[in-house]
Structures are given as C-alpha cells and as structure tokens.
C-alpha cells in the first residue's frame, strides 16, 4: 500500500500494466521525455524505453487511428489525449471505428485499447481545457466509458480497462489529480468495470455522481446530514455499460433522487439516469428527479466557479427533494 494522489495512481497503473505485459504501449502528445503535461506518464520512457512510451505528431486522429491498428494486431495501446477537449479530431475514429469494429466484422476484428484523457473544470482553463464530454461517448454503443474518483479506483479501473477486450475511454477528473490522496495497493489489481461504488449510505435522498463531483457531493451530503437529511451517495464510475440495476436499486431505496455532473445539462449523462428511473421505477419517486449540472453554455473561464456545480448547489437540490 502506498498513499498516492490520483495522478500518481494513474502513473502507477500504467507502470504496473507495462511491467506485466510487454504489449502495452503508451503514447500521445508530450507523454515521452516531458512525461505528459500533467505528468501522468512521468518516468515511463526512462523505465520502458522510447519504443514503449513515446511522443506522437500533433494529431488525435492519428493517435487513435494508429491505436486501433495496433489493437487489431495484438498490441495493447494506451493512448493519451492531452485534454478531453482535444479528442474531437479523433471522434470519427472513436465512434465510427473503435466502437464498431467488433460488430461490423462479426467479431473477427477487435480493438482492445484504452484512451486516457483528463476532463473537467477547476483549473481556469476556459472553453477548451475544462469540458466534460462523457455524454458524447456514452451515446456510442461498443465503447466503454470509465471515470474514477479515487486513487484506488484510478489504478484498479485503469488496469481493468487495459485488460478489457473492448475499447475503453478512460476519463480522468483533472481537478482531482492532486486534490485527493488515498491508499493504493501495490502491483496488479482490478476494479470491475460494471459496478457502482457506494460512497456513503443514507435513507433520505440518493445522489448520483462521478469524477470530480464525488467529493463535492460527499461534502454536500455531510452538510445535509447536519440538517438531518441522510444521503445515499453513489459514484457511478463505469458510465457505459452502466449498472442499471444498481442505479434503480439505489433510487428506490430513498425515492428521492439528485443527479450531479459538470457537463451541460441538455442531453447530458444525467438525463439518462433520470430517464431510466422515470421509466423503470417512477412509482417509487416521491419528488422530482433533480439535476445539478453545468449550464447549457460553453465553459467559461473567469467565472468557472459559478458554472461548476458546487456543494451549495448540490445541497440546495438535496434539500429541495428532501422537503418535497
């Protein structure tokens, strides 16, 4: 066990995978000698050589397209996209190709690969260094989408993703890179890609969240508890495929639901959670299903603290559904 930050846990996860299997390659922009702009890949080129951890030209289409080819032919590519905001030049390779190769080839060709990328706000990055694009990918059958919120899960989910037979988009909450620390087992272990994590038990209100919103919701839940409202906080962590049973269970247990994410609300991931509940267990609901999200605008810079859901806005929502 070591006490690591989330970014250190990612680095440890990559290192562990590379030690375990020489087919694992890490590449992307600035991941080599520089060690990545957030230092996620620090030291990997040194330990594993330029052949296994290397810089690419400035082309996300190229990074993902090449990763697909490698995966088709037996390697296990772990590609980094420097910021999730810059993944869109690779959107076609991801949604048209990686996600559909197994299906369209009748299972003959498969692309086990991981795309890691930091997402979300909190670093004054403005429109293009702050976005949360998970919903774009979660609407894409054939992909898996994973977001850790603790160092333990970051490493365990990453190792599970690298082991997975299908393409996995691994979104890292950059706001938490150095903001959370926790115990991380040494060596290899995996966290299953199909389970929720119960962050906190509570009988009054269920709060669904993931990534950087988990600590925010945790704090809001603590505040709510002071006021006598106990929240069941659920970290979804694997967004696709989602543990729908787990979600419905957690919703039914309180009959009052708040869904939280940073991304814009309209057609966001939270809508799917609401819709699942409204479709499968609306009869258990004793209050509106409330979403606390980023606004339906691009991500601003100076005023990002107003844009991102914070403890206060989450608490408002909890109180609203609790007192309905």
């Amino acid at each position: 066990m070591a006490n690591l930050t989330l970014i250190q846990a990612v680095n440890d996860g990559l290192r562990t995978a590379m030690r375990d299997d020489k087919n694992v390659l890490v590449f992307g922009e600035d991941v080599g000698p520089k060690g990545g702009v957030f230092l996620a890949t620090e030291g990997l080129t040194k330990e594993f050589g330029e052949e296994r951890c290397f810089d690419t030209p400035l082309s996300e289409d190229g990074i993902v397209g090449a990763a697909i080819g490698m995966a088709l032919n037996g390697l296990k590519p772990v590609a980094e996209i420097q910021f999730q905001d810059f993944i869109f030049p690779a959107f076609d390779q991801i949604v048209s190709e990686a996600a559909k190769f197994r299906y369209r080839s009748g299972g003959q060709y498969t692309v086990p690969m991981v795309i890691r990328t930091p997402y979300g706000g909190g670093i004054r990055g403005g429109l293009y260094h702050s976005q949360s694009g998970e919903a774009y990918f979660c609407h894409t059958p054939g992909l898996k989408v994973v977001i850790p919120s603790t160092p333990h899960d970051a490493k365990g989910l990453l190792l599970a993703a690298i082991n997975d037979p299908d393409p996995v988009l691994f979104l890292e909450p950059k706001a938490l890179y150095r903001a959370v620390k926790g115990e991380v087992p040494e060596g290899k272990y995996t966290v299953d890609l199909s389970t929720l994590r119960t962050v906190r038990e509570g009988a009054n209100v269920t709060v669904f969240c993931y990534g950087a919103m988990v600590p925010v919701c945790q704090k809001a839940a603590d505040k709510a508890a002071e006021k006598g409202v106990e929240c069941l906080v659920v970290d979804l962590r694997t967004l696709l495929p989602l543990d729908e049973e787990g979600v419905l269970d957690a919703a039914k247990r309180t009959g009052r639901v708040v869904v939280v994410h940073e991304a814009p609300r309209f057609c966001g991931y939270g809508g799917e959670i609401s819709a699942l509940i409204a479709e499968n267990c609306i009869e258990y609901m004793e209050a509106p299903i409330v979403r606390v999200t980023g606004f339906d605008t691009p991500f601003p810079n100076t005023l990002e603290h107003h844009y991102m859901p914070d403890e206060r806005r989450v608490l408002d929502a909890i109180e609203r559904v609790a007192s309905w």
Partner: protein
C-alpha cells in the same frame, strides 16, 4: 513541378520491357483468371441488384489490373486494409466467391453477420482482409498501427492500405502518411486514382500534379504507375513492400486508372463523366492489355477468355444461388458483438425484441433501394 514518371511494364501492344517477371505461367494465368472472376462477380451483382435481389453493388470494370497486380505482390502473412472496391484483391488471395456473395446478401453466413451493407467485406483467412468501413480514409492510419505492431515484433510482414483519389483528402490519409513516415512503418499506401470520387473529378479533388507527388510532403518515396498495367502495379507494390520489409519505411503509390462504370449500382455516371473520357479509357482496358501480353507469350486465346469467364460465371452463379437461399441472420445478431460479452441492458433489449417478433411474427425485410 514535375510529376513522377509514369511506370509501365506492359506496352500497349502487349510486349514487356523486363525479362524476369518473377511469375510462372500458372501465376500469370491466375492473375488473368482473377480479373475475369471480378468481371463475372460484377456482372452478376449488377443483375442481382437490378432484379432487386441485393440492394447495392460496386462495379470494378477498369480497375481490375490495379487490384490484382497489387494483390499479387503480397504474401499471405501481410495485411490488406482494403477499400470497398477491392474485389480483385479478395478473389486473388482465395477468399471464396460464396463468402463474398453471403456478404452481398447480408445473410446468416455473411462473416459480418448481415450487419453491413454489401461490399463491406471482412475476412481473416487466408489473408487478413480487414473489415471494410464506409467512412473514407479511416483505415489508412489504422494500417499504420497494424504495421507498427509488425515492426515492434520484428516480423517482416507489411500492411497495404488501399484507397481512392478521393481518399487522399481524408483525415486518415494525412495522419496515416505522416505517422508512417515518422515511425518508418512497414506500410504500402496504394492510391487507386480512378479519376473520380463518385462524381467529383480529380481536378476538383486536388490541385497537385497527381497523387504520387504528395509523398514529398511526408518524406517518403512516391511512385506513379500505370494502373491498367497489371505487371507495373505488381512491380511497384513489390518494390515498396521490399523497402518496407527491410525497415526503410512506407511508400505512396499512385496507380493511375479509370473507373469505367458508375460509382455504384445507384449511380448514373453519364450525368457527369464526359463521353470522350470514357472512350479514351476504353482503349486502355486493362483486361485487353493483359490479354495482349499473354498472347505474346502464347498463353492466351479468345477461347480461353470465354472459357474462363463462363467458368467464373458458373462459379459465381452457384455462389449467388447459395447465398440467396441462405437464411437471414438471427435476431440475436443485432445484440451480439457490440461487446465481447453482452451487457445486461442489451440482454434486456434483445429479450424485448424477441417478444415483439414472437408476438407479431417476423416482419419482412423492407426492400428500399439504396441510393449510393
């Protein structure tokens, strides 16, 4: 700007410039037969499409020499990242006509399980003929990744990425050639310049002097070859493949040829292709060129063509009949292969679909015509 010189091997009259072709008579005849099988496949598909048996096909008349010439330069351990028009490469390497026909019908025996449109083949044996995608150009960079794996493992295999003149405008072309050159990947990029991307003529596609010259932008060799000359294409691909196998990196080959039919069975080329152009290229028919060459070697007669073609038609007719008689894919094929294992939500959706189908009896396939 001077374009690369156009390489030919077979003169218009059938004579060849080189002495050692590296091909036995049997192999030459295999090439010839393959071209005729492509024509037979084409002709059959056109009939099947016109009579509503299949929805769509892609004609290959005019481009068979490029396909077969290129295929003949590859080993079974190489990988082909084909375009939808590469029937000839598949047939050359022994992919059974009936397997291709199952794809045209999208039936239960189709290796893609009836999920893709016709001509979107996917085979792993006897050669990796990688699942074809509709989006243009995406496979070009993928070929680089596959080749990179070969290189890392120290294999002497190569990947061939085949695409059209239109494909050179795609993202995958730019990233593919750039990455391959930087990584010195063992890839051969084959641009089949057949003068049109659907209705868009090359001069609206690029202002460059042909396509081989684009190699310069990436720091790799470019070769311009007469695409209607099977042996010239073969030689160019062999050369590029050798270069790649030696670890020297990729090559861009432009095979200059002409799509003598429409883009697809949904297309009417008379709307946009000038008649004179068709007439000009008809004289250069790659099949006739190869026949003249075989003739000079006393390997060919008019009768042989009829015989080969008739055999091919018979073979493909049997294949079509078998494919037509094969059942549709099972309902579960909608839900499988999305992931390695079917997740819970897809199991539920599949269950519901079964219930609906069971309650109402299977609906009949719509027979809407595919537009392009």
């Amino acid at each position: 700007m001077t374009p690369a010189e156009l390489r030919t091997v077979i003169e218009p009259d059938g004579r060849v410039k080189v002495r050692d072709l590296g091909l036995s008579d049997a192999e030459l005849l295999h090439c010839y037969r393959t071209m005729l099988r492509v024509r037979a496949f084409d002709d059959t598909c056109l009939k099947l499409q016109r009579s509503g048996r299949i929805g769509f096909s892609i004609p290959n008349k005019g481009v068979e020499a490029t396909q077969v010439g290129a295929a003949s330069a590859l080993k079974k351990t190489d990988w082909i990242f084909p375009s939808y028009r590469d029937f000839g490469m598949a047939l050359y390497h022994g992919i059974p006509a009936v397997a291709m026909m199952h794809n045209m019908f999208g039936n239960a025996e189709d290796s893609a399980k009836g999920r893709q449109m016709p001509v979107h083949f996917s085979f792993t044996e006897p050669i990796k003929f990688v699942s074809i995608s509709s989006p243009i150009g995406t496979h070009i960079i993928q070929a680089v990744g596959a080749a990179h794996a070969m290189k890392l493992r120290g294999e002497k295999h190569i990947a061939l990425a085949s695409f059209g003149d239109g494909g050179t405008s795609s993202l995958g072309f730019h990233s593919g050639l750039n990455f391959a050159a930087v990584w010195k990947s063992p890839v051969v990029f084959l641009c089949q310049n057949n003068q049109y991307a659907i209705s868009c003529p090359v001069e609206k596609q690029t202002a460059s002097d042909g396509f081989a010259i684009k190699a310069k932008a990436y720091g790799m060799p470019g070769i311009l070859v007469d695409g209607n000359d099977l042996l010239a294409v073969r030689e160019a691909v062999l050369e590029a493949a050798e270069y790649a196998r030696k670890g020297k990196g990729p090559t861009l080959i432009e095979a200059k040829t002409f799509r003598m039919g429409g883009h697809s069975t949904s297309d009417d080329p008379t709307r946009y292709v000038p008649k004179e152009l068709v007439a000009e290229w008809e004289k250069k028919d790659p099949l006739l060129r190869f026949e003249k060459f075989l003739g000079k070697r006393k390997l060919w007669s008019e009768k042989m063509r009829t015989q080969y073609y008739d055999e091919a038609m018979a073979e493909i007719d049997v294949a079509a009949k078998e494919a037509a008689a094969t059942a549709k894919p099972a309902l579960e094929t909608i839900f499988s292969d999305v992931y390695a294992t079917v997740p819970a939500h897809l199991r539920r959706q599949g269950q519901q679909a079964f219930e609906v189908a069971a309650r109402h009896g299977e609906a009949e396939a719509g027979d809407g015509k595919f537009p392009l």
